[in-house]
Symmetry: C2
């Protein structure tokens, strides 16, 4: 199947199979991440809050502070301030 409709079928297949292998590895990592959260949950940690801190740790301090200030402002505007 060297050529189907003018395209290099073998070449295309090789690209597609490379993508598929990488996607399988990604799926395995996603399963590993779920496993870590499951362990943490079994240990008594709240995984929703853990996901929030993972997200916050990715941000630089200035961005995080800005988001926290905005969140605080919106909460106060909507009467959610404790």
């Amino acid at each position: 199947m060297a050529d189907v409709g003018g395209i290099g079928a073998e070449r295309l297949k090789s690209f597609v199979e490379r993508v598929e292998r990488l996607e399988e590895e990604k799926a395995a990592l996603s399963a590993d991440i779920r496993e870590v959260y499951a362990e943490a949950k079994a240990d008594g940690f709240d995984t929703k809050i853990m996901r929030q801190v993972v997200r916050l740790r990715k941000m630089d301090t200035a961005d995080r502070q800005e988001q926290e200030e905005l969140l605080d402002l919106y909460k106060r505007a909507l009467g959610l301030a404790s």
Copy 2:
């Protein structure tokens, strides 16, 4: 920092760092996948269509046929049939 507000800070940190390492590996794989598509594009392949076939190859034959038939039906209903 054994205990902060009654939670095991070291234990929490260890979970969070495990998640972060796995997410880094996932991000690296996503970059590898983008790289494969970039190579394929440089080779003349249409990467949007490649992403479609990658998705289609994941499905079993019956599901794929059902989706293709439905797509065909919707296209005809909207006057998009060629």
